[in-house]
């Protein structure tokens, strides 16, 4: 198995217990990174930067996201294959979120927040004449980095789900896509509910 396969589908080679030893610490580190870099995991697959993130909210956000994914992907896995184990699904979720945690440093010293605040109003109100090339390039770099890690996250989630369920063909793809949408909806509902409490 080459390095590319190990990075995009570690679930074929490495047992769930081993991946869990990586995934659980990653969950805690990801939450701490969110606190450091002012990030919020305010959805199953979401990441936004805002000021005023405390350690407790960072952990809560991450927990809700993981819980929402488990709530949807485990029954989805059982639907595809009754032998699907919860530990395999949990491992997939924890490992798949690793790339998301790696995005957070793009907001070092609130770089992304400041850049977005400066560039977007210019684009909306004053047009291209007022663009600062360095700011635009900075924003473009953030977008490219974010996109790369988001794609990696979905590759891990899909490949992991495929291995955990032994799903094949259009049935696997269909169930996966539906599960993604449902997990996103459920996570936002949970966030709304918990912020109200």
């Amino acid at each position: 198995m080459n390095y590319f396969q190990q990075l995009t589908n570690p679930f074929v080679r490495y047992d769930s217990k081993l991946l869990l030893y990586l995934g659980i610490p990653a969950f805690f580190i990801g939450s701490i990174l969110a606190y450091w870099f002012h990030a919020r995991y305010d959805g199953a697959f979401d990441l936004h930067f805002s000021t005023g993130v405390n350690l407790s909210s960072a952990f809560t956000d991450n927990l809700i996201a993981v819980f929402s994914l488990g709530l949807i992907f485990l029954p989805a896995g059982k639907f595809l294959n009754k032998k699907t184990r919860w530990i395999d699904i949990l491992t997939v979720i924890l490992i798949a979120r690793l790339p998301l945690y790696l995005i957070t440093p793009v907001n070092i010293y609130d770089f992304t927040i400041h850049t977005t605040e400066q560039v977007l109003p210019l684009i909306v109100n004053e047009g291209p004449a007022q663009f600062q090339i360095s700011k635009i390039l900075g924003l473009a770099a953030i977008i490219m980095i974010t996109l790369f890690f988001i794609i990696w996250m979905f590759i891990l989630l899909f490949q992991g789900f495929k291995v955990a369920t032994n799903g094949k063909g259009m049935k696997l793809t269909g169930v996966f896509v539906i599960a993604v949408f449902l997990a996103e909806i459920v996570s936002h509902l949970l966030f709304a509910l918990i912020t109200k409490i």
Partner: protein, 93 residues
């Protein structure tokens, strides 16, 4: 050199049957038409998997360790083999 028993026709991919058996001791030759057992219709790698699985006492955990793969991967391989065997049974009960 390991010689593999073919199970499918190389020309039209239909299942092969055994038409002649020979005794290597006395030279007796038996002709007939004997379908291959389902296990022999599996691919060579699947047959090796089944063989190793039995030798390891039917433990998927031990298989995973031996093959250097994860438990779900090994379980999936076994499930795929079960599916193949069931399809052989359905086409040739």
């Amino acid at each position: 050199m390991k010689r593999l028993l073919p199970s499918e026709c190389p020309s039209c991919a239909s299942p092969l049957v055994v038409s002649s058996l020979e005794c290597t001791h006395c030279g007796t030759v038996i002709n007939g038409r004997y379908p291959l057992p389902a296990l022999l219709r599996l691919s060579s790698s699947d047959q090796d998997f089944i063989f190793d699985f039995i030798l390891l006492g039917g433990s998927l955990k031990a298989m995973a360790k031996q093959l250097g793969n994860s438990y779900p991967t090994v379980r999936n391989k076994l499930d795929d083999i079960i599916e193949h065997l069931q399809s052989f049974q359905n086409t040739n009960p």
